[in-house]
Symmetry: C2
Subunit: 226 residues, 2 copies
């Protein structure tokens, strides 16, 4: 975890992200002014549940897993973030982190000073608005996860995840590469890795082929029916 410089490609990532897109360039610059970069290796922990942190995190590359730990030490993922996503906004408002965060692969993270962001949000309604929209979106994401956990079986959850990666066009078949290890996907879907594996073999009957991280969906509609 060392400090680096902000590259121009990092700037692009910032500007293209959900939070920053709508904001004028000058505002973004103000926010990024004293932003510290940190790099993490796989399994490095960014912070622990309950830590008092006053920063907002922005992922420039890699993969971050947000999780809670049960009394018995078992971990449950609450969210998984990839490049261009902002996280730990809750901590800034509530004072303490509601979950722990660790790198699921080597990652580069920008830490935005919470005090500064609050101050900017108070002064600039656009920033506040962007923040509000971001929080709504995050809320929907966890609500989605919760509903999926409560309504869908393992194969259905996987099918739902896969469909979320299909383009909305007319094409009935589609293929793509998993953006992370299967064990990470399992965690994100609230499944044991074995359960994910079995879910994939169930879906083979519905025209899903898996080779390594490559996924082929031969008939989207068969998945939707599932």
């Amino acid at each position: 975890m060392e400090t680096l410089q902000l590259t121009s490609s990092d700037r692009t990532t910032f500007l293209g992200s959900r939070f920053f897109v709508r904001l004028p360039r000058s505002t973004v610059d103000a926010i990024l002014e004293d932003t510290r970069l940190s790099t993490y290796e796989e399994h490095d922990v960014l912070f622990h549940q309950g830590d008092s942190i006053d920063d907002v995190f922005f992922l420039l590359s890699g993969l971050i897993r947000l999780y809670r730990v049960g009394k018995d030490g078992r971990e449950a993922d609450v969210a998984v973030f990839s490049k261009g996503e902002m996280f730990a906004e809750n901590a800034m408002c509530l004072g303490r982190a509601t979950a722990s965060a660790e790198a699921a692969e080597a990652s580069i993270v920008a830490r935005i000073d919470g005090a500064k962001l609050r101050q900017l949000a108070a002064a600039d309604a656009d920033v506040a608005q962007a923040f509000i929209e971001h929080l709504c979106h995050r809320g929907k994401m966890t609500e989605d996860l919760l509903a999926q956990d409560r309504l869908l079986t393992a194969p259905q959850r996987v099918a739902s995840y896969l469909l979320g990666h299909c383009p909305n066009g007319t094409a009935t078949s589609f293929s793509f590469r998993l953006p992370f290890q299967k064990s990470v996907l399992a965690g994100k879907l609230g499944l044991a890795p074995e359960a994910l594996s079995r879910a994939f073999s169930t879906l083979r009957q519905s025209g899903v082929t898996v080779k390594g991280r490559m996924i082929e969906i031969h008939d989207r509609h068969a998945l939707e029916r599932f």
Copy 2:
């Protein structure tokens, strides 16, 4: 669902709620200015998942259940609100309701005009700030639910719920009345009513007595260990 007048007790509810407490009286008045009241009977539906609504709802009395419906028609609660809580803020930002809402008992609801609230938030940083804090809190709530679903068994979830209602003092025993039907609690905890019932009988061994809606906890620490 008819329109009524705002009573002074309603005003108290507003002023005491998490969202409004920090705001100056004049701001609250501005927000409430053209707020419509509606009453609902048990099982009345306020809106459906996907409806485009541009209002924020505030519960003055009763009980509202937010839920999603699966393809097979099964319902999964995403949140349950009681007097003094604000909900459906997501819909205002995202344009469409992310879940359906129905009254779990006779309820009185105030509908705050979304456009007006947005406009106020843009003009008044305090309102924006209150909104942000509210969203953070809601986010934490659903995150809590998700983590509980993934980490705890049924009796543990019930124990956790009960502990949430114990005062933080030194008292080791405590009793209170469930604020709603057991079937509602079951939904909130993501359990079938039968599972909740069985969870309660399991907890009897740990000193929990249930008679109707009355709950007695004889030893808080026994529950914490669970």
